[in-house]
Protein backbone atom coordinates (compact mmCIF):
# COMPACT_ATOMS: atom_id res chain seq x y z
CA UNK A 1 0.00 0.00 0.00
CA UNK A 2 2.70 2.45 1.13
CA UNK A 3 4.88 1.26 -1.74
CA UNK A 4 2.12 1.91 -4.29
CA UNK A 5 1.53 5.37 -2.91
CA UNK A 6 5.23 6.10 -3.00
CA UNK A 7 5.60 4.94 -6.59
CA UNK A 8 2.67 7.04 -7.64
CA UNK A 9 4.08 10.06 -5.82
CA UNK A 10 7.49 9.69 -7.43
CA UNK A 11 5.89 9.39 -10.84
CA UNK A 12 3.64 12.43 -10.32
CA UNK A 13 6.34 14.59 -8.83
CA UNK A 14 9.03 13.61 -11.29
CA UNK A 15 6.79 14.66 -14.15
CA UNK A 16 5.81 17.96 -12.50
CA UNK A 17 9.07 18.91 -10.82
CA UNK A 18 9.50 21.87 -13.12
CA UNK A 19 6.81 23.74 -11.18
CA UNK A 20 8.88 23.39 -8.01
CA UNK A 21 12.08 24.42 -9.80
CA UNK A 22 10.43 27.58 -11.09
CA UNK A 23 9.19 28.47 -7.61
CA UNK A 24 12.68 27.86 -6.20
CA UNK A 25 14.17 30.11 -8.85
CA UNK A 26 11.76 32.88 -7.96
CA UNK A 27 12.16 32.63 -4.19
CA UNK A 28 15.91 32.11 -4.01
CA UNK A 29 18.86 33.66 -5.75
CA UNK A 30 21.58 31.05 -5.59
CA UNK A 31 21.98 27.35 -6.22
CA UNK A 32 22.40 26.27 -2.58
CA UNK A 33 19.27 28.06 -1.45
CA UNK A 34 17.43 26.71 -4.49
CA UNK A 35 18.34 23.16 -3.48
CA UNK A 36 17.38 23.83 0.15
CA UNK A 37 13.95 25.08 -0.80
CA UNK A 38 13.49 22.28 -3.32
CA UNK A 39 14.26 19.76 -0.59
CA UNK A 40 11.73 21.31 1.79
CA UNK A 41 9.07 21.38 -0.95
CA UNK A 42 9.75 17.69 -1.70
CA UNK A 43 9.42 16.78 2.00
CA UNK A 44 6.16 18.70 2.34
CA UNK A 45 4.69 17.27 -0.87
CA UNK A 46 5.42 13.75 0.28
CA UNK A 47 4.16 14.40 3.80
CA UNK A 48 0.87 15.73 2.46
CA UNK A 49 0.53 13.33 -0.44
CA UNK A 50 -1.71 10.83 1.43
CA UNK A 51 -4.22 13.70 1.72
CA UNK A 52 -4.17 14.32 -2.03
CA UNK A 53 -7.53 12.98 -3.13
CA UNK A 54 -7.04 13.22 -6.82
CA UNK A 55 -10.19 15.30 -7.26
CA UNK A 56 -7.98 18.04 -8.65
CA UNK A 57 -4.97 17.70 -10.89
CA UNK A 58 -1.70 16.84 -9.17
CA UNK A 59 -0.14 19.99 -10.58
CA UNK A 60 -2.92 22.22 -9.15
CA UNK A 61 -2.42 20.65 -5.74
CA UNK A 62 1.32 21.00 -6.08
CA UNK A 63 1.15 24.75 -6.78
CA UNK A 64 -0.51 25.26 -3.43
CA UNK A 65 1.78 23.07 -1.33
CA UNK A 66 4.94 24.35 -3.01
CA UNK A 67 3.98 28.03 -2.78
CA UNK A 68 2.91 27.62 0.83
CA UNK A 69 6.28 26.08 1.59
CA UNK A 70 8.14 28.92 -0.09
CA UNK A 71 6.05 31.63 1.60
CA UNK A 72 5.49 30.18 5.07
CA UNK A 73 7.82 27.31 5.89
CA UNK A 74 11.10 27.96 4.20
CA UNK A 75 13.77 29.50 6.38
CA UNK A 76 16.71 31.08 4.69
CA UNK A 77 19.76 29.39 6.05
CA UNK A 78 21.75 31.89 8.06
CA UNK A 79 24.96 29.93 7.60
CA UNK A 80 25.21 31.03 4.03
CA UNK A 81 26.45 34.37 2.92
CA UNK A 82 23.75 36.34 1.23
CA UNK A 83 24.77 36.83 -2.35
CA UNK A 84 22.79 38.08 -5.28
CA UNK A 85 24.14 35.18 -7.27
CA UNK A 86 21.60 35.10 -10.03
CA UNK A 87 24.38 34.15 -12.43
CA UNK A 88 24.21 30.65 -10.91
CA UNK A 89 21.29 30.05 -13.18
CA UNK A 90 21.23 29.81 -16.90
CA UNK A 91 17.98 31.08 -18.30
CA UNK A 92 17.16 29.25 -21.46
CA UNK A 93 14.17 29.32 -23.72
CA UNK A 94 13.05 26.43 -25.79
CA UNK A 95 11.76 28.35 -28.75
CA UNK A 96 12.44 26.75 -32.10
CA UNK A 97 13.34 29.91 -33.90
CA UNK A 98 16.10 30.62 -31.44
CA UNK A 99 16.22 34.19 -30.32
CA UNK A 100 18.61 35.40 -27.67
CA UNK A 101 16.53 38.48 -26.89
CA UNK A 102 14.08 36.07 -25.30
CA UNK A 103 16.78 34.81 -23.02
CA UNK A 104 17.75 38.32 -22.05
CA UNK A 105 14.08 39.00 -21.42
CA UNK A 106 13.71 35.92 -19.23
CA UNK A 107 16.73 36.86 -17.18
CA UNK A 108 15.39 40.39 -16.74
CA UNK A 109 12.03 38.99 -15.70
CA UNK A 110 13.54 36.75 -13.01
CA UNK A 111 15.69 39.46 -11.55
CA UNK A 112 12.73 41.86 -11.53
CA UNK A 113 10.50 39.36 -9.72
CA UNK A 114 13.28 38.80 -7.16
CA UNK A 115 12.73 42.37 -6.03
CA UNK A 116 9.06 41.84 -5.18
CA UNK A 117 7.84 40.71 -1.76
CA UNK A 118 6.86 37.07 -1.17
CA UNK A 119 3.14 37.58 -1.75
CA UNK A 120 3.55 39.68 -4.91
CA UNK A 121 5.94 37.01 -6.16
CA UNK A 122 3.20 34.41 -5.75
CA UNK A 123 0.67 36.63 -7.55
CA UNK A 124 3.01 37.26 -10.47
CA UNK A 125 4.06 33.62 -10.64
CA UNK A 126 0.45 32.45 -10.87
CA UNK A 127 -0.24 35.11 -13.51
CA UNK A 128 2.76 33.98 -15.57
CA UNK A 129 1.59 30.39 -15.23
CA UNK A 130 -1.76 31.53 -16.64
CA UNK A 131 -3.82 30.54 -13.60
CA UNK A 132 -7.42 31.77 -13.36
CA UNK A 133 -8.28 34.32 -10.68
CA UNK A 134 -10.42 31.79 -8.89
CA UNK A 135 -7.43 29.53 -8.33
CA UNK A 136 -5.19 32.46 -7.38
CA UNK A 137 -7.63 33.74 -4.78
CA UNK A 138 -8.22 30.26 -3.36
CA UNK A 139 -4.50 29.58 -3.11
CA UNK A 140 -3.72 32.76 -1.23
CA UNK A 141 -6.94 32.99 0.77
CA UNK A 142 -8.20 36.32 -0.51
CA UNK A 143 -11.35 37.18 -2.46
CA UNK A 144 -11.40 37.13 -6.26
CA UNK A 145 -12.01 40.86 -6.38
CA UNK A 146 -9.04 41.53 -4.12
CA UNK A 147 -6.92 39.15 -6.13
CA UNK A 148 -7.69 41.16 -9.26
CA UNK A 149 -6.94 44.51 -7.62
CA UNK A 150 -3.73 43.23 -6.07
CA UNK A 151 -2.65 41.55 -9.26
CA UNK A 152 -2.92 44.84 -11.11
CA UNK A 153 -0.80 46.52 -8.46
CA UNK A 154 1.79 43.75 -8.51
CA UNK A 155 1.93 43.96 -12.30
CA UNK A 156 2.42 47.72 -12.09
CA UNK A 157 5.29 47.23 -9.64
CA UNK A 158 6.86 44.68 -11.94
CA UNK A 159 6.51 46.91 -14.99
CA UNK A 160 8.18 49.75 -13.12
CA UNK A 161 11.10 47.53 -12.24
CA UNK A 162 11.39 46.21 -15.80
CA UNK A 163 11.06 49.62 -17.44
CA UNK A 164 11.93 52.29 -14.95
Amino acid sequence: MQKDLEDKFLLDFEANQNIAHKICRLYTTNRDAHNDLFQEITIQLWKNYPKFRGDSKFSTWMYRVALNTAISLYRKSTRRIKTQDISDFVYKVKSQDYDDTEEVQLKALYSAVHQLNDIDKALIFLYLEDKPYKEISETLGISSVNARVKMNRAKEKLKNILNP
Partner: protein
Protein backbone atom coordinates in the same frame (compact mmCIF):
# COMPACT_ATOMS: atom_id res chain seq x y z
CA UNK B 1 -0.98 44.46 -25.92
CA UNK B 2 0.22 44.67 -22.35
CA UNK B 3 4.01 44.76 -22.09
CA UNK B 4 3.86 41.93 -19.55
CA UNK B 5 2.06 39.64 -22.00
CA UNK B 6 5.26 39.60 -23.98
CA UNK B 7 7.23 38.52 -20.90
CA UNK B 8 4.57 35.96 -20.12
CA UNK B 9 5.10 34.34 -23.51
CA UNK B 10 8.82 34.14 -22.83
CA UNK B 11 8.08 32.69 -19.39
CA UNK B 12 5.89 29.96 -20.77
CA UNK B 13 8.51 29.29 -23.41
CA UNK B 14 11.35 28.82 -20.93
CA UNK B 15 13.28 25.58 -21.04
CA UNK B 16 12.87 22.93 -18.36
CA UNK B 17 15.26 22.95 -15.42
CA UNK B 18 18.51 21.39 -16.55
CA UNK B 19 19.26 19.85 -13.15
CA UNK B 20 16.19 17.64 -13.18
CA UNK B 21 16.05 15.10 -10.39
CA UNK B 22 15.59 11.40 -10.92
CA UNK B 23 12.95 9.40 -9.05
CA UNK B 24 15.64 8.03 -6.76
CA UNK B 25 16.90 11.50 -5.90
CA UNK B 26 13.35 12.64 -5.22
CA UNK B 27 12.81 9.59 -3.04
CA UNK B 28 15.88 10.42 -0.97
CA UNK B 29 14.89 14.06 -0.63
CA UNK B 30 11.34 13.26 0.41
CA UNK B 31 12.65 11.14 3.27
CA UNK B 32 15.13 13.70 4.53
CA UNK B 33 14.63 15.89 7.58
CA UNK B 34 12.56 19.01 7.32
CA UNK B 35 13.98 22.28 8.63
CA UNK B 36 10.85 24.34 8.25
CA UNK B 37 9.86 27.34 10.35
CA UNK B 38 6.96 25.35 11.81
CA UNK B 39 9.28 22.64 13.00
CA UNK B 40 11.55 25.18 14.66
CA UNK B 41 8.63 26.93 16.34
CA UNK B 42 7.53 23.54 17.62
CA UNK B 43 11.02 22.68 18.94
CA UNK B 44 11.50 26.06 20.60
CA UNK B 45 7.99 25.76 22.10
CA UNK B 46 8.73 22.32 23.55
CA UNK B 47 12.02 23.61 24.97
CA UNK B 48 10.17 26.47 26.64
CA UNK B 49 7.67 24.12 28.20
CA UNK B 50 10.54 22.00 29.47
CA UNK B 51 12.46 25.01 30.74
CA UNK B 52 9.55 26.40 32.76
CA UNK B 53 8.59 22.99 34.09
CA UNK B 54 12.19 22.33 35.14
CA UNK B 55 12.27 25.69 36.87
CA UNK B 56 9.07 24.74 38.70
CA UNK B 57 10.33 21.35 39.75
CA UNK B 58 13.88 22.20 40.72
CA UNK B 59 13.04 25.02 43.10
CA UNK B 60 14.95 23.96 46.22
CA UNK B 61 13.02 23.03 49.35
CA UNK B 62 14.51 25.85 51.30
CA UNK B 63 12.65 28.23 48.99
CA UNK B 64 9.43 26.91 50.47
CA UNK B 65 10.64 27.58 53.99
CA UNK B 66 9.38 31.12 53.71
CA UNK B 67 5.91 29.76 52.97
CA UNK B 68 6.14 27.50 55.98
CA UNK B 69 7.27 30.37 58.16
CA UNK B 70 4.28 32.36 57.00
CA UNK B 71 1.85 29.41 57.32
CA UNK B 72 1.04 29.47 53.62
CA UNK B 73 1.94 25.85 52.83
CA UNK B 74 -1.65 24.70 52.48
CA UNK B 75 -2.51 27.38 49.93
CA UNK B 76 0.69 26.63 48.08
CA UNK B 77 -0.19 22.97 47.70
CA UNK B 78 -3.65 23.74 46.36
CA UNK B 79 -2.14 26.20 43.95
CA UNK B 80 0.53 23.74 42.74
CA UNK B 81 -2.14 21.13 41.99
CA UNK B 82 -4.06 23.66 39.93
CA UNK B 83 -0.84 24.78 38.32
CA UNK B 84 -0.06 21.33 36.91
CA UNK B 85 -3.59 20.99 35.51
CA UNK B 86 -3.13 24.31 33.74
CA UNK B 87 0.24 23.19 32.32
CA UNK B 88 -1.42 20.08 30.89
CA UNK B 89 -4.12 22.20 29.27
CA UNK B 90 -1.45 24.41 27.71
CA UNK B 91 0.46 21.39 26.42
CA UNK B 92 -2.70 19.98 24.89
CA UNK B 93 -3.51 23.29 23.15
CA UNK B 94 0.05 23.64 21.92
CA UNK B 95 0.10 20.17 20.41
CA UNK B 96 -3.34 20.55 18.89
CA UNK B 97 -2.42 23.83 17.21
CA UNK B 98 0.74 22.24 15.85
CA UNK B 99 -1.20 19.29 14.47
CA UNK B 100 -3.73 21.57 12.84
CA UNK B 101 -1.19 23.20 10.57
CA UNK B 102 -1.86 21.92 7.09
CA UNK B 103 -0.14 22.96 3.92
CA UNK B 104 -3.35 22.29 2.05
CA UNK B 105 -4.92 25.41 3.53
CA UNK B 106 -4.74 28.67 1.68
CA UNK B 107 -1.69 30.78 2.49
CA UNK B 108 -3.49 33.20 4.78
CA UNK B 109 -5.08 30.47 6.89
CA UNK B 110 -1.80 28.61 7.02
CA UNK B 111 0.15 31.57 8.39
CA UNK B 112 -2.65 32.25 10.91
CA UNK B 113 -2.38 28.71 12.18
CA UNK B 114 1.39 28.79 12.44
CA UNK B 115 1.22 32.03 14.40
CA UNK B 116 -1.30 30.37 16.69
CA UNK B 117 1.20 27.70 17.78
CA UNK B 118 3.51 30.44 18.88
CA UNK B 119 0.67 32.25 20.65
CA UNK B 120 -0.02 29.28 22.93
CA UNK B 121 3.59 29.32 24.08
CA UNK B 122 3.42 33.06 24.58
CA UNK B 123 0.37 32.70 26.80
CA UNK B 124 2.12 29.91 28.70
CA UNK B 125 5.07 32.18 29.45
CA UNK B 126 2.72 35.03 30.38
CA UNK B 127 0.89 32.68 32.69
CA UNK B 128 4.14 31.68 34.39
CA UNK B 129 5.30 35.26 34.74
CA UNK B 130 1.93 36.32 36.10
CA UNK B 131 1.92 33.59 38.72
CA UNK B 132 5.47 34.50 39.75
CA UNK B 133 4.44 38.14 39.97
CA UNK B 134 1.13 37.55 41.81
CA UNK B 135 2.82 35.02 44.07
CA UNK B 136 5.42 37.52 45.11
CA UNK B 137 2.79 40.23 45.60
CA UNK B 138 0.85 37.95 47.96
CA UNK B 139 4.05 36.96 49.71
CA UNK B 140 5.06 40.59 50.15
CA UNK B 141 1.69 41.56 51.54
CA UNK B 142 1.85 38.80 54.12
CA UNK B 143 5.48 39.53 54.80
CA UNK B 144 5.16 43.27 55.30
CA UNK B 145 2.00 42.97 57.32
CA UNK B 146 3.96 41.61 60.24
CA UNK B 147 7.27 43.21 61.29
CA UNK B 148 8.32 40.28 63.43
CA UNK B 149 7.90 37.88 60.55
CA UNK B 150 9.75 40.16 58.22
CA UNK B 151 12.72 40.37 60.58
CA UNK B 152 12.71 36.62 61.04
CA UNK B 153 12.53 35.81 57.34
CA UNK B 154 14.79 38.44 55.90
CA UNK B 155 17.35 38.55 58.66
CA UNK B 156 17.76 34.96 59.82
CA UNK B 157 21.28 35.56 61.12
CA UNK B 158 20.00 38.26 63.44
CA UNK B 159 22.35 40.90 62.17
CA UNK B 160 21.92 44.25 63.77
CA UNK B 161 19.60 45.86 61.30
CA UNK B 162 16.61 48.00 61.98
CA UNK B 163 13.27 47.27 60.34
CA UNK B 164 13.66 50.17 57.89
CA UNK B 165 16.89 48.72 56.52
CA UNK B 166 15.34 45.27 56.15
CA UNK B 167 12.41 46.70 54.21
CA UNK B 168 14.74 48.63 51.90
CA UNK B 169 16.96 45.61 51.25
CA UNK B 170 13.93 43.39 50.58
CA UNK B 171 12.38 45.80 48.12
CA UNK B 172 15.61 46.61 46.27
CA UNK B 173 16.70 42.97 45.91
CA UNK B 174 13.28 42.03 44.58
CA UNK B 175 13.32 44.87 42.06
CA UNK B 176 16.78 43.90 40.82
CA UNK B 177 15.74 40.26 40.41
CA UNK B 178 12.62 41.32 38.51
CA UNK B 179 14.61 43.58 36.20
CA UNK B 180 17.12 40.84 35.39
CA UNK B 181 14.35 38.37 34.58
CA UNK B 182 12.56 40.84 32.32
CA UNK B 183 15.72 41.78 30.40
CA UNK B 184 16.73 38.14 29.91
CA UNK B 185 13.28 37.13 28.69
CA UNK B 186 13.05 40.11 26.38
CA UNK B 187 16.42 39.24 24.83
CA UNK B 188 15.39 35.63 24.46
CA UNK B 189 12.18 36.52 22.65
CA UNK B 190 13.77 39.12 20.45
CA UNK B 191 16.41 36.65 19.36
CA UNK B 192 14.57 33.39 19.02
CA UNK B 193 11.14 34.43 17.88
CA UNK B 194 12.32 37.58 16.14
CA UNK B 195 14.34 35.55 13.66
CA UNK B 196 11.81 32.76 13.37
CA UNK B 197 8.72 34.88 12.86
CA UNK B 198 10.06 37.85 10.93
CA UNK B 199 9.17 36.45 7.54
CA UNK B 200 5.80 35.05 8.63
CA UNK B 201 4.71 38.30 10.24
CA UNK B 202 5.74 40.25 7.18
CA UNK B 203 3.86 37.96 4.79
CA UNK B 204 0.82 37.84 7.03
CA UNK B 205 0.70 41.62 7.18
CA UNK B 206 0.93 41.72 3.41
CA UNK B 207 -1.95 39.24 3.04
CA UNK B 208 -4.08 41.16 5.51
CA UNK B 209 -3.48 44.26 3.48
CA UNK B 210 -4.68 42.33 0.42
CA UNK B 211 -7.86 41.41 2.20
CA UNK B 212 -8.91 44.97 2.85
CA UNK B 213 -8.25 46.53 -0.51
Amino acid sequence: MDVLDDYKKTWINQADEKNRLTSLEIYNLSHSKSSSIVKWIFIVGVLEFILWTVINITIPDRFYKIYEDLNLMEYLNIFMGLHYVIILVFLFLFYRNYKRVSLLENTKKLIQKILKIRKTVKYYVFYNLTTVFLGSVVLNIVLFSDDAHLMKVMNPQNLTLDIQQVVTITVISQLIALLIIIVLLWLFYKLVYGTLLKKLNKNYKELRKLSDV
